[in-house]
């Protein structure tokens, strides 16, 4: 199944409700549905509400009443402590310095490979495609020790470059696979027309295929942003210095540094979650489509 078809599914809803029960029964059923779904949503949102509340309480309030009690105070001091003293500001910058180039680089490289593999009769293209996907499916644990030694050897250990390098190398196979599925659905005639007009492969890639693959690229960007931003394992494998750690690793540091100061830890969690939640709320549609893109295979 191609990626295009899945995205199409998302548009065509509303089809499966043919049988209409009697009005009274329907009202009852609707109420029942909203009760169940509402309760479930409330249960799911509860931890998020709780962390927001905790992040705005004072330490004394939590110490006196317990972290599970209702708030008796309001302050943004937890945020200040996490942001300034806890180094979350620096960590957030590090995270962005890694995430943005990684997303751009891996999607750029992956779209080129997917273009070549899907639009040209390269030898062994299927084997190459699956080899690249296979690399992404490897458990990262097998790579941790060699990767940390490799980055030491290259003199980039404890540098953000090392993290960008390994994230690109590890992620690219999956994006190639998804984009390949998307690009091969583009009709050959479009490409032939461009060839007749005298376009070279680079121009076809840049002006024809890339614009047509935009929905898939948008979906993958939203998805990969959260993956890379939320990563912990690669970061603590190739980085050592506190000041270079991204926000996830720094949050663990915060937990050790501010033991049972739940207002600071909660504020740190809010700071760490804010960028991905923002991406989700802004690109919700693409994001959900992206999850399905990957899963179609």
């Amino acid at each position: 199944m191609t990626a295009t078809r899945t995205t199409a599914h998302i548009e065509t809803t509303e089809a499966a409700a043919p049988h209409r029960p009697a009005p009274r029964g329907r009202a009852l059923r609707t109420t029942g549905f909203h009760l169940t779904a509402g309760l479930l949503s409330a249960l799911w949102l509860l931890p998020i509400v709780l962390v927001l509340l905790t992040s705005t309480r004072t330490f004394d309030d939590i110490a006196a009443h317990g972290v599970g009690s209702r708030p008796h105070s309001f302050t943004l001091d937890g945020f200040r402590q996490a942001w300034v003293d806890g180094g979350q500001q620096r960590a957030l910058i590090n995270s962005m310095l890694v995430t943005v180039p990684t997303v751009l680089l891996s999607l750029g490289l992956a779209s080129m490979a997917a273009f070549a593999l899907s639009r040209y009769a390269l030898p062994f293209r299927r084997v190459l495609l699956l080899l690249m996907l296979g690399g992404n499916l490897l458990p990262p644990q097998i790579l941790l020790i060699p990767v940390s030694k490799l980055s030491e050897l290259l003199g980039i250990y404890d540098r953000l470059y090392a993290l960008i390098g390994v994230q690109v190398g590890f992620g690219v196979g999956f994006y190639v696979f998804v984009l390949h599925g998307f690009m091969r659905a583009i009709p050959a005639e479009i490409q032939q027309a461009a060839v007749i007009d005298g376009a070279n492969p680079w121009q076809i890639y840049r002006r024809v295929v890339l614009p047509l693959a935009r929905p898939a690229l948008a979906a993958l960007s939203a998805l990969s942003f959260t993956w890379i931003f939320n990563d912990l394992l690669w970061a603590i494998t190739v980085l050592r210095t506190e000041d270079r750690m991204p926000v996830t690793a720094s949050l663990i540091g915060l937990q050790g540094q501010y033991v049972s100061m739940w207002n600071v830890i909660a504020a740190g969690s809010v700071i760490a979650a804010a960028p991905t939640v923002a991406v989700f709320l802004r690109f919700q549609r693409h994001f959900v489509a992206g999850l399905n893109l990957g899963a179609v295979k």
């Binding site: 199944m1 599914h9 065509t12 809803t13 043919p18 609707t30 549905f33 779904a37 509402g38 479930l40 949503s41 799911w44 931890p47 998020i48 962390v51 905790t54 599970g68 009690s69 490979a113 273009f115 070549a116 593999l117 009769a121 390269l122 299927r126 690249m132 996907l133 499916l137 490897l138 458990p139 644990q141 097998i142 790579l143 941790l144 020790i145 060699p146 990767v147 030694k149 390098g165 190398g169 690219v172 696979f177 599925g181 050959a188 070279n200 492969p201 912990l232 494998t237 949050l251 739940w262 909660a266 740190g268 969690s269 979650a273 939640v277 991406v279 994001f287 999850l291 899963a295 295979k297």
Partner: protein
């Protein structure tokens, strides 16, 4: 892709050099950071190495050591248990949520977003949120007290009997929304005509679910299964942030044990061997996933 492009485009068999570069550059990046290190990982698993002096070859010594390593046994059993509990429950709850929220109606977007929001959280942030809930003076104990179950109050993460299960809950809280999205897409792909026909034949809702919905979701099930197995074996962040495998290794997974063996005890050879075990466990899934992908890439 034009199937075997040469048939339709006779001229296309000659591949321009720039197109070759398009494939080779990303492939080299992956080879450098993934394939080459993976091979090294396998060869390191046959050595004893402290990371400083030269590795010494010990053959299968690391693997025979595992047979007598009680922590390894705990971690392996926990990993399988994690796979079954985390995997089984997230699949069941995700399917349940998808069935509940499949119809387009007023407010559905909100409910879906609520279940889905945790998916974008980092597992570290998720873990810390739940850590606050699990505290002796946290919300969970407060609620237990309030409903008259004060006797059940617990230091959930500090007790060997409960730590493992306490770690699974946040992982599930985050995974259910993801599985739900996969199933929602699958449910939308089912032809409504099938249900119409079943109703004409007088099939009950349960019968429709058993004989139409479940069979039609087969390919989604395969995807969910692969996602779950791969995610389970990779699970690290949430355990590391909550308990680091403790207390007394009661929440240890192979992945956390591998990490602490390699980077804290600095037994890099043994750590590599543990990674090979994780690889072997994942291998079956990867292969079946690739076989499926191979067929579909055709």
């Amino acid at each position: 892709m034009a199937p075997t492009g040469s048939a339709r485009r006779p001229g296309a068999t000659r591949v321009p050099p720039v197109v070759l570069a398009f494939v080779l550059v990303p492939l080299l990046a992956e080879a450098f950071w993934v394939f080459w290190p993976a091979l090294q990982g396998f060869s390191l698993s046959l050595t004893s190495w402290d990371g400083l002096s030269a590795p010494t070859f010990v053959g299968l010594g690391n693997f025979s050591e595992m047979l007598h390593d009680t922590v390894f046994r705990t971690a392996a059993i926990n990993t399988v248990l994690w796979l079954l509990l985390f995997g089984g429950l997230s699949a069941a709850l995700g399917l349940g949520a998808a069935l509940l929220l499949q119809q387009e109606r007023r407010g559905i977007g909100f409910y879906r977003a609520a279940l889905f929001l945790p998916v974008v959280f980092s597992l570290v942030a998720t873990a810390l949120v739940w850590q606050a809930m699990y505290q002796p003076d946290g919300l969970i104990n407060h609620v237990l007290q309030a409903v008259g179950l004060g006797g059940w109050k617990h230091a959930w993460l500090a007790d060997q009997d409960t730590a493992f299960y306490a770690v699974i809950v946040p992982a599930l809280w985050r995974q259910v929304g993801y599985v739900m999205v996969l199933y929602l897409a699958g449910l939308k792909g089912i032809d409504p005509v099938l249900y119409e026909a079943a109703k004409v034949d007088g099939a009950t809702r349960v019968q429709q679910f058993r004989h139409i919905t479940l069979p039609q979701l087969r390919s989604v099930n395969a995807v969910v299964l692969s996602v779950i197995v791969i995610d389970s074996l990779r699970s690290f962040d949430v355990v590391w942030a909550l308990t680091r495998g403790g207390p007394y290794h009661s929440s240890e997974l192979l992945s956390t044990y591998m990490y602490s063996t390699a980077f804290q005890s600095l037994r890099l050879g043994y750590g590599s061997a543990l990674a090979v075990v994780i690889f072997v466990l994942a291998f079956g899934v990867i292969v079946s996933y690739l076989v499926r992908a191979f067929r579909e890439a055709d």
